[in-house]
C-alpha cells in the first residue's frame, strides 16, 4: 500500500521539526531530504530533482518567502508548500504571491499534510493540461470552449464574469487563490483591492452552485487570503464512477 510517493525537501530552521517530519514522511513512503535554511535549500533544488518542497516561512537568512520566489523562478513546476503559524495571514498571502502552491498551518496533523503533499506531487507530475479541456469536479462540470457550466447535469446560467471566475478557480482546484490574484485574472491587472467585488460574486456563485450556500462544499473561503475550489470530490456518491 506504500509505493514511493515522491521526493520531498524539508526546509525548516528547527531541527526538532525536521526530525519529526523526516521520520514520519519517510515512514509514509516518501524520499526525504532536509535543509536548515533558505540558502541551503536553493543549493539543493539546483542539484536534485524534488517533487515537493516544504518551506518554513520564518527562517533566519533569506527566509522562506525569498527562497520561494527564487525556486519558483527557476523551477516553475516544483510543488511548494509553505509551513506557517496561525495569525500570520499577511505572510501567507506574501508566500502565495511569491509563487507558493499552498500553505499549511503549524502545528498540523500529518494526515492533512500528507494529503496536500500527494496533491502537489500529482500536480507536478501531471502533463500540461489542454486549456479547453472540460473540468469536472464533483457534480460541477465546466466546459471552457462552450462556456457552459452544469451542476449534476443541469445547465447553470452564469454571467460572463461569474464564468471567468469559476473557470479560473476550477482550473486551479485545490489551491488557494489570493484575492489579488483572482481580481487580476478576472478583472485585469488594474484591479487588486476591490474585495467586496469578489465577495459579492462568490456569494452569487455559491447561490447558483452550492446545495447550501452557507456551508459551501466547492467554493471555499480561505479566511483573509482568498478562495479555493475543492479538489477532491466532496460527494461520496460520485466516488463510484
Amino acid at each position: 500500500m506504500i509505493p514511493s510517493h515522491g521526493k520531498i525537501l524539508i526546509v525548516d530552521d528547527e531541527s526538532s521539526i525536521r526530525r519529526a517530519l523526516h521520520n514520519t514522511l519517510h515512514g509514509m513512503g516518501f524520499t526525504v531530504d532536509e535543509a536548515a535554511n533558505g540558502e541551503a535549500a536553493l543549493q539543493l533544488v539546483r542539484e536534485e530533482k524534488y517533487d515537493v518542497v516544504l518551506l518554513d516561512i520564518n527562517m533566519p537568512g533569506i527566509g522562506g518567502i525569498r527562497a520561494c520566489r527564487e525556486m519558483r523562478r527557476s523551477l516553475p513546476r516544483l510543488g511548494i508548500l509553505m509551513l506557517t503559524v496561525r495569525d500570520s495571514e499577511e505572510d501567507k498571502v506574501l508566500a502565495l504571491d511569491a509563487g507558493a502552491d499552498d500553505y499549511i498551518t503549524k502545528p498540523f496533523n500529518i494526515r492533512e499534510l500528507a494529503a496536500r503533499i500527494r496533491a502537489a506531487v500529482r500536480r507536478s507530475s501531471a502533463s500540461q493540461v489542454d486549456p479547453d479541456a472540460v473540468i469536472r469536479i464533483g457534480i460541477i462540470e465546466l466546459d471552457p470552449a462552450r462556456r457552459l457550466v452544469r451542476k449534476a447535469g443541469e445547465p447553470v446560467h452564469l454571467t460572463p464574469k461569474e464564468f471567468d471566475m469559476l473557470r479560473y478557480l476550477m482550473a486551479h482546484a485545490g489551491l488557494p487563490i489570493t484575492h489579488a490574484r483572482l481580481l487580476h485574472a478576472v478583472w485585469g491587472p488594474e484591479y487588486g483591492g476591490e474585495l467586496e467585488y469578489l465577495r459579492t460574486f462568490v456569494r452569487q456563485l455559491r447561490k447558483k452552485l452550492e446545495d447550501d450556500p452557507a456551508e459551501p462544499a466547492y467554493l471555499l473561503t480561505d479566511s483573509h487570503i482568498g478562495y479555493r475550489f475543492a479538489e477532491a470530490k466532496p460527494e461520496p456518491v460520485e466516488e463510484k464512477s
Binding site: E14, S16, I17, R19, A20, L21, N23, T24, L25, G27, M28, N58, V85, R86, D87, K106, P107, F108, N109, I110, R111, L113, A114, T159, P160, K161, E162, L195, E196, Y197, R199, T200, F201, R203, Q204, A214, E215, L220, T221, D222, S223, H224
Partner: protein, 490 residues
C-alpha cells in the same frame, strides 16, 4: 513723541543759522530777494533736519530779520512799500507750506523704514520659531525669542491648554495679569501705559492663549502678527508632542508584537514536532490498540496545548490592541463568512445558519480582533450545544448598535455563571466535565468588544437555549450587492 528739548534745540539751531546769514548778508549788502532766498534755504534745512514746528519758528524769526535788515527803510520795523508786505507774506506762507510738505515726506519715509524693520523682525521670529527646541517647554522659548528680536522690555505668554504663564524682562508681573485677562475676556487689551498691549492667540477663530508685550520700540499694530506667530508656535509644539506620543505608542506596540511573535514561535515549534510525531505514529498504522490509544492522547493533548497557546497569545494581542486598533470598514456578513470558513471542520455535525439581515451591515473596527471574538462565540456554541442541533448566527442593527448573536440549543448556563464566564480562566462547573475548553475564549470576546467600545452578554434558559451577544457601535451602512446587479444585467 519727540521731546521738548529736541524742539528747543531745533529752534536754537534755526535761530543761530538765521543770525549768521543776517550778519553775513547785511555786511555784504545783499539785496532783499537774495537774502530772502538764503533765509528760505535755512527754513528748508531746519524742516528737513528737525521738523515742521522748528521750521515754523525759524521762518518767523527769518521774516522779522528780513523786515528789519533788508526791507527799506532798513533797520526799522516799518515797511514803506506795500509790495514788500506781499513779499514778506509770500515768504512766510511758502516757507510754512514747503516745510510742512517736506516734514510729511520725511515722516512717511521714517514710518516706512520702521515698518520694514518690523517686517524683518517678524520674518526673523517666524524663521526662528521653526528652530525652537522641541524637547523643552515651548512657552519660555517663545517669550525670550520675542524679547531678543523686538528688544522689548518685557513679554508674557499665557498658554491656555497648559494653563501656563511664561514671562521675561523687567516688571513682568502685571504683564502676566494682562495676558491672562486678555485670554479670558477674549479681546485685545491696552496696558497701563502706552507701550503695553495684550492680544489673544488664535488658531482660526479658536483662542489658544494670549500674549502681553511692553516695548517702546514696538509699533502699535506689531502685536497682532506676533500673536499669530506665537499661536502657530504653540500649535506646532503641541502637534510634535502628539506625534512623538503616537510614535512611542507605535514602538511599544511593535515591541509587544515582536515579543508575542517570538513567544508564538517558541511554543509552536515543540508543539509542531510533538503533533507531527504523534499523528505520524497513528498514520503509520503499526501500533497496538494500547499504543494507538496513547498516541491519540498525545495528539489530543498537544492540540489542546496548542489552542491554549493560541488563545493566550490572542488575549495578549487584544490587550495590546487597547492602545492601537487597526480599524477599517468591515462588512458584518464577510466577517461571519470568514469565521465560519475557519470553523467549519470543528462543528461536528452541528448545522450553521446565517441570517440575511447581516448582508448590508458594516462596522468600523479591527478585522482580526473582531474575527477572534466571533470565533470564540462559535467555538463556544459548537462545544457546548447539543450535537446535531443547529447553531444560528444573526446580525441586526438596533438603537445605534450592530448586534451579532450566536444561538445554540443545549443545557442552559446557570444564572450565577452568566457574568463570570466572561472572566479570564473561569469555567462553569458543568463545562469542566463536558468539554475541553481553555477558559479564555469568552474573555477574549469580551475584551475585543470593549476595545471597540462595545459589550458582550449572554441570555440562557432551558426552553430556548443559549444566545451570546456581541454589540458594537454602528458603522456605515452600504449596499454591496450593486456590483453583482451590474454584472447580471449584461
Amino acid at each position: 513723541m519727540r521731546s521738548q528739548l529736541r524742539v528747543l534745540r531745533g529752534c536754537l539751531a534755526g535761530l543761530a543759522s538765521v543770525a549768521l546769514v543776517t550778519f553775513c548778508a547785511f555786511r555784504l549788502n545783499l539785496n532783499l530777494s537774495t537774502s530772502g532766498s538764503l533765509y528760505f534755504l535755512i527754513v528748508m534745512m531746519v524742516a528737513v533736519v528737525w521738523g515742521f514746528w522748528e521750521a515754523s519758528v525759524t521762518s518767523l524769526i527769518a521774516v522779522n530779520c528780513l523786515n528789519y535788515f533788508f526791507v527799506p527803510p532798513v533797520l526799522t520795523w516799518r515797511v514803506s512799500d506795500p509790495q514788500n508786505w506781499i513779499a514778506l507774506a509770500t515768504f512766510e506762507i511758502t516757507a510754512l507750506t514747503v516745510s510742512r510738505l517736506s516734514t510729511r515726506a520725511q515722516d512717511k519715509a521714517r514710518a516706512e523704514a520702521r515698518q520694514r524693520a518690523e517686517v524683518e523682525k517678524l520674518y526673523e521670529l517666524s524663521r526662528r520659531i521653526l528652530y525652537l527646541d522641541r524637547r523643552l517647554t515651548i512657552g519660555p522659548q517663545i517669550v525670550s525669542l520675542i524679547q531678543e528680536i523686538f528688544r522689548t522690555e518685557s513679554v508674557a505668554l499665557f498658554d491656555a491648554a497648559l494653563a501656563r504663564l511664561d514671562a521675561t524682562g523687567t516688571g513682568a508681573n502685571d504683564l502676566e495679569e494682562l495676558a491672562r485677562s486678555a485670554y479670558f475676556q477674549d479681546s485685545a487689551l491696552e496696558g497701563a501705559d502706552a507701550h503695553t498691549r495684550a492680544d489673544v492667540l488664535r488658531l482660526g477663530s479658536r483662542p489658544v492663549g494670549a500674549i502681553a508685550i511692553r516695548g517702546r520700540e514696538l509699533g502699535r499694530l506689531a502685536i497682532v502678527p506676533i500673536a499669530s506667530l506665537a499661536a502657530i508656535a504653540l500649535e506646532r509644539a503641541r502637534s510634535f508632542e502628539k506625534e512623538s506620543r503616537a510614535e512611542a505608542a507605535h514602538q511599544t506596540e511593535q515591541l509587544r508584537t515582536a515579543v508575542l511573535d517570538a513567544l508564538a514561535h517558541a511554543f509552536k515549534t515543540p508543539l509542531t514536532a510533538i503533533r507531527t510525531a504523534s499523528s505520524g505514529l497513528l498514520e503509520a498504522g503499526r501500533l497496538s490498540t494500547d499504543d494507538t490509544e496513547l498516541a491519540d492522547l498525545i495528539d489530543e493533548q498537544a492540540e489542546h496545548l496548542n489552542r491554549l497557546t493560541s488563545e493566550l497569545l490572542q488575549m495578549a494581542r487584544i490587550d495590546a490592541a487597547e492602545v492601537t486598533l487597526h480599524r477599517e470598514r468591515v462588512s458584518v456578513l464577510t466577517l461571519i463568512e470568514d469565521v465560519l470558513a475557519q470553523y467549519s471542520e470543528q462543528l461536528h455535525g452541528r448545522r450553521l445558519e446565517v441570517s440575511d439581515s447581516a448582508s448590508d451591515l458594516e462596522v468600523y473596527g479591527d478585522r482580526k480582533i473582531l474575527m477572534a471574538a466571533l470565533e470564540q462565540f462559535i467555538n463556544n456554541a459548537s462545544r457546548y450545544s447539543t450535537p446535531g442541533s443547529p447553531i444560528t448566527v444573526t446580525a441586526e442593527e438596533n438603537l445605534g448598535e450592530i448586534i451579532i448573536a450566536v444561538h445554540n440549543e443545549g443545557p442552559p448556563i446557570r444564572p450565577d455563571d452568566r457574568e463570570r464566564i466572561f472572566e479570564r480562566f473561569y469555567r462553569a462547573e458543568e463545562a469542566r466535565h463536558r468539554a475541553t475548553g481553555t477558559g479564555l475564549g469568552l474573555s477574549i470576546a469580551k475584551k475585543a468588544a470593549e476595545a471597540h467600545g462595545g459589550r458582550t452578554w449572554v441570555v440562557s434558559d432551558a426552553a430556548t437555549g443559549t444566545t451570546f451577544y456581541f454589540a458594537l457601535p454602528r458603522g456605515i451602512r452600504r449596499q454591496v450587492d450593486s456590483v453583482a446587479r451590474q454584472d447580471s444585467d449584461r
